[in-house]
């Protein structure tokens, strides 16, 4: 029989994933196009003199914000997927499914077309777009009798499809260098990380993850279906709105800073569920650590795989994520 008490299970999962996360963090700092390696990183951490004095700046001023931004984005997207998979009781749900991505992308593209600097104005435009979607979603579902999962899903998919059309329209009327900026944002980009961005996302992530942890047992009960959840005393309507609001906020901020990073939010919750079971009180911390580690790892690959320059990290997350998802589906079917 498994350990029955949830606190013990949560601590066990944290103890398992923390070393993985720490290893990813150190690896993300140690390697990259500017050189370094574990030895140099260790000397820098221990305060010993480095042969190349530029390395210290590379470690702490260039790579650290980038690695932290990757970790935070990975955590946010995994949590977003986890929440939407529970809320919509649909294993294919991911953090972008309700159109948050589409709205953010329209905002970001309009920002780029208007020639705004990427931070903070471009990010703010993207964030405004994401929140605009949530507003539309709230409006649409208030027209219907209830906030059922199907009503939510239908409205979200419609908004997303409409946004997709607008994005294609905007791209087709753009021909100059701004087109490249739009496409690189759409594919997800961590390369312009600055400490202010990291601090902003860290604050939002900390608050959201804490809120989601306190609502995690509610997510367990949502899985039992509407009638059973209500009959167990869950205030379903309120819980749904809070989950939706918290998730939209953190995903909106993440998307506005890093662009669209696909598959993380789809794959990580499934992987964590496969490893640790369906209890959301365990899955929330697991997604923070696991999602963070996975994104650091993908970003590291994006930096060191190409001979020169780097590839968009969204390409790596999708290249690993899609086959991994198919593998997980096969395992789950058995």
């Amino acid at each position: 029989m498994r350990t029955p008490l949830p606190i013990a299970r949560i601590l066990r999962v944290k103890a398992l994933l923390l070393p993985v996360f720490a290893a990813a963090l150190l690896a993300g700092l140690a390697w990259g196009s500017g050189g370094g390696g574990p030895g140099a990183l260790w000397r820098s951490i221990a305060g010993l003199p480095l042969e190349d004095s530029v390395l210290a700046d590379i470690f702490w001023k260039i790579r650290l914000p980038r690695v932290l931004l990757a970790a935070l984005t990975g955590a946010v997207l995994s949590l977003g997927g986890l929440v939407f998979q529970a809320l919509l009781r649909n294993p294919l749900a991911e953090p972008y499914i309700l159109g948050i991505s589409g709205g953010a992308a329209i905002g970001a593209i309009l920002g780029i077309l208007a020639g705004l600097p990427r931070f903070p104005w471009g990010s703010l435009a993207a964030f405004a777009g994401a929140m605009g979607t949530v507003g539309l979603l709230a409006l649409f579902s208030s027209w219907r009798t209830g906030l059922g999962k199907d009503a939510l899903l239908l409205s979200g998919v419609m908004i997303n499809a409409f946004c997709g059309a607008v994005i294609l329209f905007l791209i087709s009327v753009t021909s100059d260098v701004r087109l490249f900026n739009i496409l690189s944002w759409l594919m997800g980009d961590l390369s312009l990380a600055a400490m202010e961005q990291v601090a902003l996302l860290a604050a939002v992530t900390a608050v959201s993850a804490a809120a989601l942890f306190f609502l995690s047992h509610g997510m367990n009960l949502i899985l039992l279906g509407r009638d059973t959840a209500l009959s167990l005393g869950v205030r379903l309507e309120a819980l749904t709105w809070v989950l939706l609001a918290v998730t939209s906020l953190m995903v909106g901020v993440s998307v506005s800073l890093c662009g669209l990073l696909g598959f993380v939010g789809l794959v990580m919750p499934h992987l964590m569920r496969l490893l640790f079971g369906p209890d959301h009180r365990v899955l929330v911390p697991a997604c923070v650590l696991g999602g963070g580690a996975y994104m650091i790892f993908c970003d590291l690959l994006a930096r060191i795989l190409p001979r020169q320059g780097e590839m968009p990290v969204g390409v790596v997350t999708a290249l690993i994520g899609a086959p991994a998802f198919i593998f997980l589906l096969r395992r789950a079917a058995r």
Binding site: M1, R2, P4, L5, P6, I7, R89, T145, F213, F214, L215, S216, H217, G218, N220, L221, L223, L224, G225, D227, T228, L230, S231, L232, G233, V234, R235, R273, G277, P278, D279, R281
Partner: protein, 277 residues
């Protein structure tokens, strides 16, 4: 006189414009084995949902043990009445023990951190429903009969005074149907839980119920002990087809279909091929 476990007074309900229940009144006494029967669309499931606060009546009042249902907080209500919905979703990949433990939610705080006592109650509920041996099996890998007993274990774990079940015997074979109905009788007799269940199986209901309610088109056609409800008049009015009622040697009323006049005698029912020698 003790207040009734459930007292329904002049309750009406409608989805959008279509009236489902119209001015219904009845009482369920504590310790009753109360079975609601009636044709499809007669409002049985709606009535069950009203009784546990999932729906709110358009008019009228419902009292549980003397206190108006509408004044109770959702969680307090959940400690009083548990529901086993029809074809309850069991797709979540929980293990049986985890799933049954979720029944403790109304007694716990926000995070639902289980105490050893909660775990003991869950194990006891599994033992009572004969599902203890399934504890570490996955819910979505159980057979129909096992799953239904686990769903009931979850509700028993909730420690309610009233247990509401929507067609708990649907899709089960004869032996498993009897098993579920026996389990409800044990719950009633040994723990004083008031059992209210909706059933399509009139004869099975008549064998177990202490009182019955016959619902048709949102109104009560008959209410009382099985002997009064299982009668040709009200049943034919409710179901709109010719029926025969007899009494078995055990004194239980039994209903059977009378082939109706629309089908010529000697012709097999549609879909059955006639075999000539």
């Amino acid at each position: 006189m003790n207040p009734a476990a459930i007292a329904v007074q002049e309750v009406s309900f409608a989805y959008e414009e279509a009236a489902v229940l119209e001015g219904i009144s009845f009482r369920v006494e504590e310790g009753d084995y109360f079975v609601i029967i009636g044709p499809n669309g007669s409002g049985k499931t709606t009535l069950l949902k009203l009784l546990c606060g999932l729906l709110k009546p358009r008019a009228g009042s419902i009292r549980l043990f003397g206190a108006p249902l509408s004044r109770r907080r959702r969680k307090a209500l959940a400690r009083l009445a548990a529901l086993v919905p029809q074809a309850a979703s069991a797709e979540a990949p929980f293990r049986v023990e985890e799933f049954v433990l979720l029944g403790r939610a109304p007694h716990q705080g926000l995070l639902g951190l289980e105490t050893p006592e909660d775990l003991a109650i869950a194990r006891e509920a599994m033992a009572f429903t004969g599902t203890a041996h399934l504890a570490s099996r996955r819910l979505d890998r159980l057979s129909g009969g096992e799953r239904q007993r686990v769903l009931i274990a979850r509700a028993v774990c909730q420690r309610p005074r009233i247990l509401l079940l929507d067609e708990p015997t649907a899709y089960l074979d004869l032996a498993h149907q009897a098993q579920i109905m026996d389990l409800m009788e044990a719950l009633r007799a040994e723990r004083g839980v008031t059992v209210v269940l909706v059933s399509h199986d009139v004869n099975l209901a008549a064998m177990y119920a202490s009182r019955m309610l016959l619902l048709a088109a949102g109104r009560i056609l008959a209410a009382g002990p099985p002997g009064e409800v299982i009668a040709k008049g009200p049943l034919e009015a409710a179901y709109g087809c010719p029926l025969a009622v007899e009494t078995t040697p055990g004194g239980v009323p039994r209903v059977s279909l009378v082939p109706n006049g629309r089908r010529p005698a000697g012709r097999p029912p549609p879909g059955v091929r006639e075999v000539r020698p």
